[in-house]
């Protein structure tokens, strides 16, 4: 087995999945905050984790139980893949491959990466907008149907972009949801916008009121993860997302 390979370990075997959501520490921690909230509010249960010989030797202890930091949760046909630590840049391609291969084997209808896009005027924005990047015309049509505008030009850097590349290659329908967010500070408001967008896509009614009410508390408690994520984002040239890509008219 290649030392760098990543594997999805199912503690509870599953056969099918409609939506596979991915949220890892990134811009404003919005994917992590949104999926943690969704898991809690919708009562998803833990069904597995990611493992690799190349992962740092870290366990997270919750209520006395040691757990791997990258875990899978499920409720009905909804799967959430979350990580409590930033993904090491050298492991992003193999992590994306493992998750997409696994999702494909489970006949996943749509992989959705929850993420943020940093905007310099975030303080002036009351309700952050959410943009979408679809892997196919069918996914773009779906975005249009629920009034989620397309992210039309720009660089994207991170696990969501590696996942998208893998999905385009293998033909798995995929979508990146990007909420306008703070780059360097945890942004629960942007996470709430992601949940609202997912509500529209999946026909759910997850209430974001509690998330917004806990906004300050979440910002206090996520400072350290944000700081570590910032260091990781520098390694992945995350700053590229603020650059104008070359365009040929």
């Amino acid at each position: 087995m290649d030392r760098m390979s990543v594997r999805v370990i199912e503690a509870t075997p599953i056969s099918r999945c409609k939506y596979c959501l991915i949220g890892v520490p990134d811009v404003g921690l919005v994917g992590s905050i949104a999926l943690s909230y969704l898991i809690h509010e919708q009562a998803l249960t833990e069904i597995g984790h990611l493992e690799s010989d190349a992962f740092q030797p870290i366990v997270v202890v919750h209520r006395g139980d040691p757990k791997p930091p990258c875990r899978l949760y499920r409720k009905d046909d909804l799967i959430a893949v979350v990580s409590e630590i930033p993904i090491d840049p050298s492991l992003i391609p193999s992590t994306a491959r493992a998750v997409v291969e696994w999702a494909r084997a489970k006949h996943t209808e749509l992989i959705i990466a929850f993420s943020g896009i940093a905007v310099p005027n975030r303080l002036e924005i009351e309700v952050p907008a959410v943009y979408g990047v679809g892997s196919s015309d069918a996914v773009k049509t779906l975005l249009k149907e629920v009034d989620i505008p397309l992210f039309e030009e720009g660089f994207l850097v991170g696990l969501h972009s590696a996942t998208m590349t893998e999905c385009v290659k293998t033909g798995v329908p995929s979508l990146i949801l990007l909420a306008q967010a703070h780059l360097r500070y945890p942004d629960p408001g942007a996470a709430a916008s992601l949940i609202t967008a997912f509500n529209k896509l999946a026909g759910l009614e997850v209430d974001i009121a509690k998330l917004l009410a806990q906004e300050d508390e979440i910002r206090v408690r996520m400072r350290e993860l944000m700081q570590r994520t910032q260091q990781q984002m520098q390694q992945t040239q995350k700053g590229r997302e603020q650059e104008i890509p070359p365009m040929f008219v």
């Binding site: 209520r63 360097r184 500070y185 300050d216 508390e217 910002r219 206090v220 400072r223 700081q227």
Partner: protein
Amino acid sequence: MWDLGRGSLEPLASVSETEDRVIVEVDLPLVRKDDIRIRLIEGGLEVEASLTRCVRFARWGTVQRSCEFRSFYKLVPLPSPVVADGVQATFKRGILRVVLRKRRAREHRIPIE
């Protein structure tokens, strides 16, 4: 990012520069504008703010679980010398933004031979 002795948490902060300004941003959730104290001192910009309520990490670690954090404290090192005059500070949605003017070096014209 915490100091048990002081009972303080270290806030997230960022520093950027323009040609003539240094801009410091500090994330201060659970803080009121009137409870922030900013001082320009030799080592940088000192920011201290009391929290609107104590924060306790009830199940975390061993000693920390019994500790309550009551404030934020951070000394932000500045990348360039600044002047104390004309400092602008704003606080919006829990983010403090301080704009400081850089001290200008004395100008010397360099002739081209």
